[in-house]
């Protein structure tokens, strides 16, 4: 019954078709122990379906998946014992009390009454649910319910935690709190975490590895920084006092991918901020001092746009855009 050593998650050609909908269309995925991975993609991309297969909720149509060392079809109980899952909905029954749900969740994982009670109290404390844990779940706010969901997913201190859109529907403050909890969990316990999101900033700031999913397929898989550098790159915007200066500057920087637009020169490059000092120096010595400098760093949406020709923001993915611009005073 020992789990095989190796990767926490390993899938080969993982596929799920619902009648003629190819929800997940052949995903090969390897997640190492201790990784924090975000599945990013628009609504309907197949993120939830992927998670539901990995958590034994639905059997794959084709392909295989090993989770925490066990096959998700043949060894369901072993997989279930080792993972935590926080689904898209709310896990606590509306007519229940939060604390009761936590205790029965612990019992479901085979914990004794006392350990379950103690663990519930610990999680109530650490997730700031003290005042609401003994109230009917139906009376809790969205943020409180979500934290209760997280607590339930953590009751048995799983080595692997799946979160499906953990912060959807939360206000920015609650979202930030939740992200902080997830990051702390990882820092303190080394839990492997797989989350799905359609919030670009969330994937960007939390995960060191982003798997971009579209139409049931993985279309990119890397760190946010490398995804952006590889697929989009930075844009340096230089402002000049006149159009003549702009044209002259373009000529001076002829080795670069630069395009003048009126009094503005746009330079597409990699590692924008590191290039700015040298660039300004070159221009100054050519007698063309820039009046202003902006480095426009790409967002993951730009990555998605480059890869698919569509924006993630369309179709209800209403993530609020973080200004991805760094201003440099000259």
């Amino acid at each position: 019954m020992k789990p095989s050593v190796g990767h926490m998650i390993e899938t080969r050609g993982l596929t799920k078709h619902f009648k003629d909908v190819r929800a997940v269309d052949g995903i090969d995925l390897t997640v190492a122990r201790g990784e924090l991975v975000a599945l990013l993609g628009p609504n309907g991309a197949g993120k939830s379906t992927t998670l539901r297969m990995l958590t034994t909720l639905i059997p794959p149509t084709a392909g295989t998946a090993t989770v925490a060392g066990f096959d998700v079809v043949r060894r369901q109980r072993e997989v279930r014992q080792r993972i935590g899952y926080i689904g898209q909905g709310n896990g606590a029954g509306h007519s229940q009390r939060g604390r009761d749900e936590l205790i029965s969740q612990g019992r479901a994982y085979g914990m004794g009454v006392r350990p379950a009670r103690a663990r519930a109290a610990e999680l109530i404390e650490s997730l700031g649910l003290g005042e609401v844990a003994d109230r009917k779940v139906a009376t809790l706010s969205g943020g409180q319910r979500r934290r209760l969901d997280i607590a339930m997913g953590l009751i048995h201190a799983p080595e692997l935690l799946f979160l499906d859109e953990p912060s959807t529907g939360l206000d920015p403050q609650n979202r930030a709190n939740l992200q902080e909890h997830i990051l702390r969990l990882r820092a303190e316990h080394g839990t492997t975490i797989v989350l799905t999101t359609h919030y670009l900033d969330e994937a960007d700031s939390m995960a060191e590895r982003v798997i971009v999913v579209d139409h049931g397929r993985v279309i990119a898989d890397d760190s946010p920084a490398r995804l952006k550098a590889e697929h989009v790159g930075d844009t340096i915007l230089l402002g000049f006092d006149s159009e003549q200066e702009t044209t002259a500057a373009a000529a001076t920087l002829s080795g670069r991918d630069s395009h003048p637009y009126g009094k503005e020169l746009r330079i597409r490059t990699q590692g924008g901020p590191r290039q700015v000092p040298g660039l300004l120096e070159d221009l100054r010595s050519a007698g063309l001092p820039a009046a202003s400098v902006e480095v426009i760093r790409p967002t993951l949406d730009d990555v998605f746009l480059t890869l698919t020709g569509r924006s993630l923001r369309e179709g209800g993915a209403n993530a609020d855009r973080q200004p991805a611009v760094e201003l440099v005073e000259v």
Binding site: T55, G87, G89, G91, A92, G93, R107, A108
Partner: protein, 247 residues
Amino acid sequence: MTSLVADTRTVFSRELRPLRYDPFTIIISMVQPLVFLALFAPLLPGDKSEALRWFVPGIIVMSCLFASSMTGSNLLFEIQTGSHERMLVTPLRRPALLIGRALKEIVPMVAQAALIVVVCLPFGYRLSVGGALLGLVILAGFSIGLGALSYALALAAKHQEWMFWVVQQTLLFPILLLAGVLLPLDGGPGWLRTLASFNPLRYVVDAERALFTGDIWQSTTVTGLVAAAAVGAFGLFVGVRAMNRST
């Protein structure tokens, strides 16, 4: 790893817990059959204590039938909110999810049965405690099966809840009437008695009547047990399958 019994207890006590905070709903559901009994029993012909001997087991079976057929109704809401999915991801044994929920519906019915019996005592009603206990075991087996079928029905109807009610209501009354719960089947036409012979509840009711009176060593006890066990096993089989196949 846990046992089936421990898992069932976990599910059962989770289900029962909200009632602790809301005992009023239990009281209401307990009083209902008493009202029914009070209005129906006077209509029974002949000797009252004889009539009650026939009628009390029927009322108890009817309550369990109604209650266990409702097992899936609470589930519908939990399927929507996500708490059912959350439980499916735990290592809880699948049959425990079915049995625990069905038991939650019928355990209050046991208390209710006791209440009915007590209320009927002044009217000359007598029962065999041992026989009645065995009768309740048989009834529990039947109810677990029916509860599991109700659970499977809720899973099948999760995208159109009205379907659950249509099917539940459509099946409930034929099952009830074709079991001779309220009116004896003996006087009915042949086709009706033939239909009834395919109704497992009919054998359960016959067994209950004999057992409550103390006639334990009867063939009805065996047929009742067999019918209840068959419904129980069939229900669990269908229920587990529905859970594993539900998307």
